[in-house]
Amino acid sequence: MKQPGETRITSERPVAQAFGAMPTGRPGDVAVFPYLVYIEFLAALLFSIVLLVWSLTVDAPLLQEANPGVTENPAKAPWYFVGLQELLVYFDPWIAGVMIPTLIIVGLMAIPYLDTSTNAVGRYTIRERRLVISHFGFGFALWWILIFIGQFLRGPNWHIYWPWQDWSMVKSAEATLWDFPWWVGLPALIAYFGGPLFLAQKRWPWLLERLGMTRYVGAVTLALLFYGVPIKMLLRLLFNVKYVLVTQWFNV
């Protein structure tokens, strides 16, 4: 790695002279012009080339003109929303389409107010932040896994088709789904959201101490809501469960 002082921009004058004397700089700071500006310029140039070549070789899709009478089969959302579309299989629209996106946004925004530690800033480290990074990493990965499933494994009528299976093969009807009765569903939900509050306190006693009550409850609740998503998906996939809780007004 070159030290900044050794880098030269003109053949005539070593930059080192300029460095030590930058008026506002701390020791070790470098001049934004040219060092940062050049990197930005090169990065933009590189991406322009990539984008231009991509656009010259691959055409953007354009299907038949819109026709309300015929739904594309399968009808896929743009890829960045296919993960959400995939969730629609497992959750009612008001959960998959409204509550989950809202909670993702709110949850993301809440992160810096829940994790207020100020160490390990400004560098990549996993060891010192194992807990936070593993949760966030799982969420980030799940988002992309759902996109992958929706984009590459879903075929006509939103059935799972493996890449080697032919889409013209008609898949037969699926198993009929069943719901938890309320006297199972309600206690299960209460236990799910209440229990870990105490368990996490047992497992990571320093957590409550460091976060305080409000942050602790907020963080654990958000985490539970989040892990509820893959859990409900597994219930459907393994046991054909449609709803965990059926009420008169809404179903979960």
């Binding site: 399968p74 629609l88 009528n157």
Partner: protein
Amino acid sequence: MHRGVCDMNNEAALQQLVELSRREFLARGLTAAGWGSFAVVLGAGTLETVRFFFPRVLYQPPSTFRIGTPEAFLARKGEADEYGVIFVDERWKPEQRFFVVRAKDRVYALTARCAHLGCTVNWFSSLDIFKCPCHGSQYHSDGKNFAGPAPRPLDRLRITVGVSGDLVVDTSIIYSVERFEADGAFVALA
């Protein structure tokens, strides 16, 4: 506070207090009025903007379609399946987005709009089910949902016998599952 420094027995000081509190009163009143009108302007602006997006008149295409006489549906024979359905007529699906179902003792119009998120479902006569291409909801021939995310059966549309003796389907009047037995949700066949 001004009150603290004034001597109540002193006329001039009292006068001063009255003066001051009037000024104070004025200042407070103005503040309240100022913030009040700010809130009103903001509220009115928000309300106007929201209301602006909901026009008074919608221009809709015609929603009633004549689909032929009851006799024509009666004439086509077949075996009823376990949901009491003899056949599903797809003729109006491409243009008008509904199916006509001939059951043992009635005809009704089934919307092709998936009860989940509104994709157009397709009829698979060999499997005797409707399937939705968007998230995989599946329905029996009578529109009852049995798999996938659909929360309720396919809705039905108003169907009546018109003055001409033809069956008339009105796609703007929708009956969901609670009202499947209501007047207009089906036409009984003799």
